[in-house]
């Protein structure tokens, strides 16, 4: 291990080459800061997914359209009452319900906005159980609530969706009809979810009288112990009612857990990809640090000769140079983490204000320690070769070196 005296000696050398040391540190801390930023936001997203799905989703399965049609906008895909019956009679299914999701026109005075409308059966509020969002103000929907809506959180906020905020018992114009606001949901943290409008499913035909309305999703509560078998049975029954062959399904059935898992996989890939790019910048900084250390060794050949002549062993010289590069990495890591915290805090604040409150950084002690250790390690790795070269310099040659 390197002693305090050698550290002081190394640190003074770094200090004497302030500009170069600074530039080296700069190249390290950019990479570390990038890694820190993306991982902390990634952790935040995982936490968000976990929080919103905790507990209530393990026994749910979802039937969704397969392919290009966007939910609520495309009428190509149709889930009928027959399909719902097919799901209900599958083994292991406790209850099932159809959910309508439609794009709707919402008007306030002369302003028109488009939002998603969700219509569900208040007796089987499975969709609300999945999303784990509670009522913030007023009440939830009840059976027979015709002409009544529960709104997403953002309708309560001035200048968020409309310039005027809505209050309980206000009227809101949806698809040309005036509906009464009976409640607001809690904040979810994404602009889309927080501008959703909810009605009961038996009111959908009143809102869209001239259309043959069909479900966008079928959600079922099932025996969570046998969920894999249930999914297969539901698939089988749907193939029969919809008259499609195996492998040619126009729908897919997934347990909600699997659905979240598939989101997580996509998330992993995205984060992994971004971190990979950041790693490339770390590799560049390794080369840069190596270059700094090689120069530093060349500048100090004579000094190496001197300290060898007064009794320094090869290992002493090696330690000095390895410590220097490791220390540069350490400073880069600490600065990178600090910059990362600053950036993610500001970023989280800005995103919150833009309505993307679910995109928040999450800090774990491992992230801090990991980033700094990683920086020290990359610094040290950069220093290994130059340090070996330095330690092998022959004293007699070094002393003659000018």
């Amino acid at each position: 291990m390197i002693s305090k005296e050698m550290m002081v000696y190394s640190l003074r050398n770094i200090w004497n080459r302030k500009l170069r040391s600074f530039l080296t540190v700069l190249s390290i801390f950019m990479g570390i800061a990038t890694i820190f930023i993306f991982i902390s936001f990634g952790l935040g997203l995982y936490e968000y997914i976990e929080k919103t799905t905790a507990g209530t989703s393990a026994d749910k399965i979802i039937v969704q359209p397969k392919g290009a049609g966007l939910i609520g906008l495309s009428d190509d895909f149709v889930l009928t009452e027959d399909d719902l019956r097919a799901v209900e009679k599958s083994s292991g299914v406790y209850e099932a319900t159809g959910v309508y999701i439609k794009a709707v026109e919402v008007k306030q005075k002369t302003k028109t906005k488009y939002a998603f409308l969700t219509a569900y059966d208040p007796k089987k509020p499975l969709i609300m159980q999945i999303s784990n969002v509670g009522v913030d103000e007023g009440r939830g929907l009840k059976s027979g609530d015709k002409g009544k809506v529960v709104l997403g959180y953002n309708y309560k906020i001035k200048d968020k969706i409309f310039s005027e905020p809505y209050e309980l018992n206000d009227k809101i114009e949806v698809q040309g009809q005036d509906l009464r606001v009976v409640g607001f949901f809690e904040k979810v943290g994404s602009p889309q979810d927080d501008s959703n409008i909810y009605i009961t499913n038996d009111f959908i035909d009143d809102l869209y009288p001239d259309k043959n309305n069909s479900y966008s999703w079928i959600i079922a509560k099932v025996d969570s112990e046998k969920i894999k078998g249930v999914v297969l049975d539901v698939e089988n029954n749907l193939r029969k009612t919809r008259d499609v062959k195996k492998g040619k399904e126009d729908f897919f059935v997934q347990s909600f857990e699997d659905l979240i898992k598939s989101y997580s996989i996509v998330l992993n890939i995205i984060i992994g990809f971004v971190v990979l790019i950041a790693l490339i910048s770390v590799i560049v900084s390794v080369i840069n640090t190596s270059n700094t250390m090689v120069t530093s060794v060349l500048e100090r050949v004579k000094e190496i000769g001197i300290i060898k002549s007064i009794g320094a062993r090869n290992s002493d010289i090696f330690d000095i140079f390895l410590f220097e590069s490791g220390f540069l990495g350490f400073v880069g890591g600490v600065l990178g983490v600090l910059l990362g915290v600053l950036f993610t805090t500001i970023g989280g604040y800005v995103l919150e204000n833009l309505g993307w409150g679910f995109l928040q950084p999450s800090y774990s002690p491992y992230l801090f320690i990991g980033c700094i250790l990683f920086a020290v390690l990359t610094g040290a790795i950069s220093g290994v070769l130059p340090a070996i070269n330095a330690s092998k310099i022959k004293p007699v040659d070094a002393l003659r070196y000018e």
Binding site: E5, Y9, I307, K308, A312, D316, K394
Partner: protein
């Protein structure tokens, strides 16, 4: 009978310079007794610095054997050579060779550091040496803040730090004015009186005459 501290037996040192081989030291035989004061003299290029590097274990001979304190240093590892250099030999160079980033005091403590002397002991010893050499007021100065004579005295203090048997000085007064040079020479003579073996390398006959014994070297031959 006096103890033999340095013995060279038929030592050669060849260098490659491009395609030709330079025979810097040829078949040198030399014995130096403990407590001696030897001046190695010769014109520049005569091989005297190479000879000094060999004696000081900074360099290894191409042929022949070198004994330091009756120990053959030819087959020692780099680590052991470093230990010997640090412990048994004190170097004084023409260009002082102090570490520019360290203060006078730190420069003097450094050789003791490599011998694992405790921190307290190192500092006490270094302060004592600097005091003896009249540098008490300068101990916290960097080399760049010291005059040539002062720097060389710091270098002498550093050479003495581990209380070595042998002090090797390569043109110790070469970069000094005559007054400072005399002073350094007096210090070396004084050290010799206290029992240290002093070997100076010089091309200056005036200086060499102060030594007890003169070894002449020319074209690598003693």
């Amino acid at each position: 009978m006096e103890k033999e501290i340095i013995k060279l037996k038929n030592v050669c040192r060849n260098y490659k310079l491009g395609n030709s081989i330079v025979r810097a030291v040829r078949n040198a035989d030399l014995k130096i007794n403990s407590g001696d004061f030897v001046a190695v003299v010769g014109p520049s290029g005569s091989g005297k610095s190479t000879l000094m590097n060999l004696i000081g274990a900074l360099d290894l001979a191409t042929n022949g054997e070198i004994f330091l304190d009756n120990k053959n240093i030819e087959h020692l590892t780099e680590s052991n050579l470093a230990q010997i250099r640090g412990k048994k030999i004190g170097f004084i160079f023409q260009s002082f060779n102090l570490i520019p980033t360290l203060t006078a005091l730190e420069n003097v403590t450094l050789p003791m550091f490599f011998q694992n002397v405790s921190k307290k002991e190192r500092e006490d010893r270094a302060k004592e040496l600097l005091f003896e050499l009249g540098l008490k007021e300068r101990e916290n100065h960097l080399p760049s803040e010291l005059s040539g004579g002062e720097r060389q005295r710091v270098a002498i203090a550093r050479a003495l730090a581990n209380d070595p048997d042998v002090v090797l000085a390569d043109e110790p007064t070469g970069n000094l004015d005559s007054k400072s040079g005399e002073k350094v020479l007096d210090i070396l003579k004084d050290l010799n009186k206290k029992g240290k073996t002093i070997i100076i390398v010089t091309h200056d006959m005036h200086m060499a005459k102060k030594a007890r014994r003169i070894v002449k070297i020319k074209d690598g031959k003693i």
